[in-house]
């Protein structure tokens, strides 16, 4: 009886550990890392330029959207805009918003820029490209046309490109500010030695990575590391309260 309880419990625990390590982390984000982005032609402001001409002037964040999207594209762009305001206050990086829908023309992209109030912002480029399949293949992005809904079935994707055109970091889905800043740091060629995989069941995480400072911030777990020293101070204090004025020996 006792044995079977232990056995059941431990099997359950093991299963939980295995499950806990699975979800949360999007493994496709690691795909195409450090590969060069396709040097496609992009059209904006009435001109056609090469992508390499753009990134050679400084790192670029590519956001892939399409204007007729009724799903994730709008909240996604809004979030990128807000994050850029805070995280890129020194305006060292540019955001290239590219449509992956062949139906989008320069007019649609212009209207999109105006809608977000970014039409006169030098840090933002709203562009189309005739070589869209080359671009999305090179960054590992796979939108699928759903003819029933007349929408693309796709996830939100941000791609960080450094000034040599290498993909340094990708973010899939709507992500938090920390993840966003880690992308910005990576396109500026800062080496982040290690990062944790998110885990929902983990209460006492040792360090949470803060991309703003580039350091791991103390998490709740770290407080546990301080606890032994603090507790033993308390022990010393308590024990020493019983000091006899006169030596007893």
């Amino acid at each position: 009886m006792f044995k079977s309880i232990f056995c059941g419990l431990s099997i359950f625990c093991l299963g939980a550990v295995a499950r806990a390590q699975g979800p949360g982390y999007v493994f496709s984000e690691e795909d195409k890392i450090y590969q060069k982005v396709a040097d496609v032609n992009i059209a904006y402001d009435g001109e056609v330029r090469s992508l390499s001409g753009l990134y050679s002037q400084g790192p670029v964040v590519i956001a892939l959207i399409y204007t007729r999207c009724s799903g994730v594209c709008n909240p996604f762009l809004l979030q990128v805009k807000e994050n850029m305001l805070v995280a890129d206050s020194d305006e060292r990086s540019r955001v290239l918003v590219v449509s992956f829908d062949p139906r989008d023309g320069s007019g649609e992209m212009r209207r999109l820029a105006i809608r977000y109030g970014l039409d006169n912002d030098g840090g933002w480029i709203f562009a189309t490209t005739p070589q869209i399949s080359e671009l999305i293949n090179s960054v590992g992005f796979n939108p699928v046309w759903d003819s029933v809904r007349a929408q693309f079935d796709h996830e939100a994707l941000l791609v960080g490109i450094n000034d040599e055109g290498f993909i340094t970091r990708k973010l899939t889905g709507l992500r938090d500010f920390n993840a966003f800043t880690s992308l910005l740091r990576s396109i500026r060629n800062e080496f982040i030695l290690s990062y944790p995989l998110p885990n929902e069941n983990m209460v006492f995480s040792c360090f949470s990575y803060n991309p703003e400072t580039g350091k791991n911030q103390p998490g709740t777990g770290l407080l546990l590391l301080l606890l032994p020293a603090l507790l033993s101070l308390v022990v010393v204090f308590v024990l020493s309260r019983r000091h006899d004025r006169k030596p007893r020996f």
Binding site: K3, F6, A16, N201, F207, L227, P228, L231, L239, D244
Partner: protein
């Protein structure tokens, strides 16, 4: 001074420790022969042995230091015999549980039981909870023991006096703190701290074990806690040994007692603080550990060990050089022990340097250095105390006509044994391999050679055991 009761208790400690020591050495020798392909153990057999070897060695030399400090503290303060008995009983229960877990339950995580390995191994299901429980039993016994002694120290000395802070100021202080009290205080506080870390670790393990998967631990945090406990305990046990050296070495050599000076006070206060972060050097190769911690780890590793080692070595040398010394087995053991400790310390400092650790971490260099400062360092301090105590109990003088022979064999056996580790470690042979792959086959002969040297060491230990146990048993017949 020492009551008959305390003598009896200490005798029981000494006999238990020496018997367990011999058994644990035998396991060690078997493991080295297995690595040298001279014998063939099953992997589970090998790793169960490795686990119990580590646990036993850490455990017995820790309690050896504790028993010695407890005995010698009686010279300054009154220490509770009840707590000593309590610690003895819990230690024996804990050890029996651990032996059950490893040999019947086939539990083989190594003594570091890095999370989540205890949940992920091929052993009996009851082994993991029983193992954690055994650690809990030992932890409680040892916590009560150290808190009890600390309590008694603080009854006589204010904390500032126990830390010898009055010696850091100019002029000679009114109340002098004996070095033994300072080292004992510093060490006992360190022990309490790392036992608290152990409690936290166990709580987290049990929380995960009983949470049915809704609570998962962070592997990095668990690793930090494991070494907070494990590394610090292994370090503090060395300092327990040193406490008895400070107390006994000048005395048995026929020299005046060590005086407290500001260097000694400063060095040991340094040790007390730095020792608490030195364990970070176990995480050098975990790149996720914040860089600041890695730097602190390297700093603390240097500053926890170097000042205390330098002060101790100099004090011992100043006693000996060109002075009339009454050499006996006791002070020769202390003297050789300091040498071994320093040599092991050099190996440790080399490994605690991050750029070296990159190619030394988890190679045989690690067992090389810790076997040096244990097998021919700390163990000798405790053996010296055992020998001294046994002579006190046995009532015969402190002379031993075989001192030179015993020491020579011990030194040859011990250093031959560790040299094989060092060579293997420098040439990248991994530690904790039950057999070596093809590329190290030329170096695996070193393992067998090391085992042969260890046999020599074992022979001296058995000889020592017979002598010491005979003397210790006289305490019981005297009553």
């Amino acid at each position: 001074m020492a009551t008959l009761q305390l003598k009896k208790l200490t005798s029981v400690w000494i006999i238990t420790i020496l018997v367990l020591f011999v058994l644990a050495i035998v396991f060690g020798i078997l493991m080295r022969f297995n690595q040298g392909n001279a014998i063939h153990l099953s992997p589970v057999g090998f790793y169960s042995m490795m686990t119990i070897h580590g646990l036993t060695m850490i455990g017995i030399w820790f309690v050896a230091g504790m028993a010695a400090v407890n005995f010698l503290l009686q010279r300054y303060i009154k220490v509770s015999a009840g707590i000593n008995v309590f610690a003895l009983v819990l230690t024996v229960i804990g050890v029996v549980m651990l032996w059950l877990v490893t040999f019947v339950g086939e539990f083989h995580t190594g003594w570091t039981f890095l999370y989540p390995l205890p949940f992920r191994g091929a052993w009996k299901e009851w082994a993991t909870p029983l193992f954690l429980l055994a650690l809990g039993v030992l932890g409680i016994g040892w916590f009560v023991w150290s808190a009890g002694m600390l309590f008694q120290i603080f009854r006589k000395y204010r904390p500032a006096q126990a830390f010898a802070w009055q010696h850091l100021r100019k002029g000679s202080p009114e109340i002098e703190t004996p070095p033994f009290i300072l080292i004992s205080t510093v060490t006992l506080i360190g022990i309490i701290t790392c036992l608290v870390a152990a409690v936290l670790l166990l709580v987290l393990y049990f929380a995960e074990y009983f949470s049915s998967g809704s609570f998962v631990n962070d592997a990095l945090l668990m690793k930090n806690l494991t070494f907070f406990f494990g590394h610090t305990l292994a370090n503090e046990m060395l300092y327990l040994g040193l406490a008895s050296l400070y107390e006994l070495f000048p005395e048995v050599s026929g020299r005046p007692k060590f005086k407290m000076t500001w260097y000694v006070a400063l060095a040991w206060n340094c040790t007390m603080v730095f020792i608490l972060t030195a364990f970070f050097h176990h995480m050098y190769m975990d790149f996720v550990q914040p860089f600041a911690f890695q730097v602190i780890g390297q700093m603390a590793s240097y500053f926890a060990s170097v000042p205390a080692a330098a002060v101790t070595a100099f004090s011992v040398l100043a006693v000996v050089i060109k002075n009339p010394i009454r050499w006996s087995l006791t002070n020769t053991l202390f003297f050789v022990g300091v040498t071994g400790w320093l040599i092991g310390g050099v190996g440790a400092v080399i490994d605690a340097t991050i750029s070296n650790n990159f190619v030394l971490h988890n190679t045989l260099w690690v067992p090389a250095h810790f076997h040096t400062y244990n097998a021919i360092g700390n163990v000798l301090f405790s053996l010296a105390f055992f020998n001294w105590a046994a002579n006190e109990f046995g009532g015969k003088g402190h002379t031993d006509k075989f001192t030179r022979l015993k020491m020579t064999l011990l030194i040859i056996g011990g250093s031959g044994f560790v040299i094989m580790f060092y060579i293997g470690g420098a040439y990248s042979v991994p530690r904790r391999f039950n057999v070596y792959p093809q590329e190290f086959s030329s170096l695996s002969i070193l393992a067998s050679a090391g085992a042969l040297f260890a046999c020599l060491y074992l022979a001296v230990i058995v000889w020592f055991l017979v002598n010491t146990v005979n003397k210790c048993l006289k305490v019981f017949s005297a009553a």
